[in-house]
């Protein structure tokens, strides 16, 4: 009888001592937002979404992430991805995102861009561990992003501003001149 009581007591103590692992996955920040290809018809918005796993022992996998993208108050679209990136215990993860932009939406009536855009990313990420336990992380990030012209775009713009012609345009003109000259000779 005593033995049974001791076993029950020990098992009670063991259960009481067994701590369930507590923790959560937190949104840290959004890094390196870039707007590219604005000189073309379609551009892209790129960014890195940072998370931190505060669980001491449990690794999680990113199940899915969706982000509503707004630029200067205009609804640009929804980024969605089913990913398998892993966030290890007590570590950070940066999730790269890229979304195609319809540049016409960002232009004003004259077809020009402002020097800076206010980008709002409003999203939800769902992480899952091996025991199928899910962690839902909601996040919102607002940032003013400057658009920097690439060297190629700058050259193009400068030429257009000066009224100068590009190489291909010069070649075309030369061809036209030659044709006209041959016609005159005939």
């Amino acid at each position: 009888m005593n033995k049974i009581l001791i076993i029950i007591l020990i098992s009670f103590i063991a259960i009481a001592c067994k701590r369930s692992e507590s923790g959560e996955i937190l949104y840290k920040d959004t890094y390196n937002i870039q707007l590219t290809g604005l000189s073309k018809k379609t551009g892209a918005i790129k960014a890195l979404i940072g998370f931190n796993n505060q669980f001491e022992k449990t690794d999680f996998k990113l199940k899915e992430i969706d982000i509503d993208i707004t630029i200067d108050g205009i609804d640009i679209g929804t980024y969605f991805s089913k990913n398998t990136l892993t966030i290890k215990a007590l570590s950070d993860l940066k999730v790269p995102i890229e979304y195609e932009l319809n540049n016409e939406k960002l232009q004003d009536d004259k077809g020009e861009y402002p020097s800076a855009f206010v980008v709002v990313l409003n999203g939800t990420a769902i992480f899952v561990n091996d025991q199928s336990q899910e962690q839902e992380v909601k996040f919102k990030h607002k940032e003013s992003v400057n658009y920097v012209l690439s060297k190629r775009d700058k050259k193009k713009q400068d030429k257009n501003d000066d009224g100068q012609l590009s190489r291909s345009e010069k070649r075309k003109l030369k061809k036209i001149h030659r044709k006209l000259e041959t016609q005159e000779d005939k």
């Binding site: 969706d66 609804d75 679209g77 929804t78 969605f80 195609e100």
Partner: protein, 157 residues
């Protein structure tokens, strides 16, 4: 005879073309609804708008060919959305389709859902169900049907 030959050549080319195109492991699918708005809700006109988010699993751009979605307010049929918007559908990416339910005049929908409508306008939550499908065309394939079924409680405040 010449016509038959022409048709068979075309068939062989299209078969070759379709065999070269990569088919994704999963078909395009519905992701979520967002941005529900009550534009107008009165005896003369009902206008509700929302955005349906889908995912194009194909590694090719797609075209929206058909929208056919029934809208229910608290399990009562309100109307059908079949507006075909000019939507760009990039490859391997999510895309938004604006859904606009425009009943002008509302007809039986208003008598069916007047009480639910007043609940909506006073800021109470009401159940709205979207059920139907869209059709996408990728390359020269037969249009792909993507089903949508979503029920959410919405309020305008």
């Amino acid at each position: 005879m010449a016509q038959l030959r022409y048709i068979s050549v075309l068939l062989v080319i299209s078969l070759l073309f379709s065999s070269y195109a990569e088919a994704p492991s999963t078909e395009p699918y519905f992701v979520k609804m967002k941005g529900f708005k009550v534009v107008t809700f009165n005896a003369k006109r009902i206008e509700l708008s929302s955005i349906a988010v889908f995912f194009n699993t194909y590694n090719h751009k797609a075209k929206l060919k058909e929208v056919n979605i029934d809208v229910y307010l608290e399990n009562k049929y309100l109307g059908k959305v079949n507006n075909l918007e000019d939507v760009s559908i990039p490859k391997s990416s999510a895309f938004d389709i604006p859904l606009i339910l425009n009943l002008d005049p509302p007809g039986p929908a208003i008598t069916n859902s007047l009480w639910q409508g007043t609940k909506l306008l006073t800021g109470q939550k009401v159940k709205i169900r979207y059920e139907g499908y869209i059709k996408l065309k990728v390359l020269a394939f037969v249009p792909i049907t993507v089903k949508i079924k979503d029920e959410m409680s919405y309020s305008i405040f």
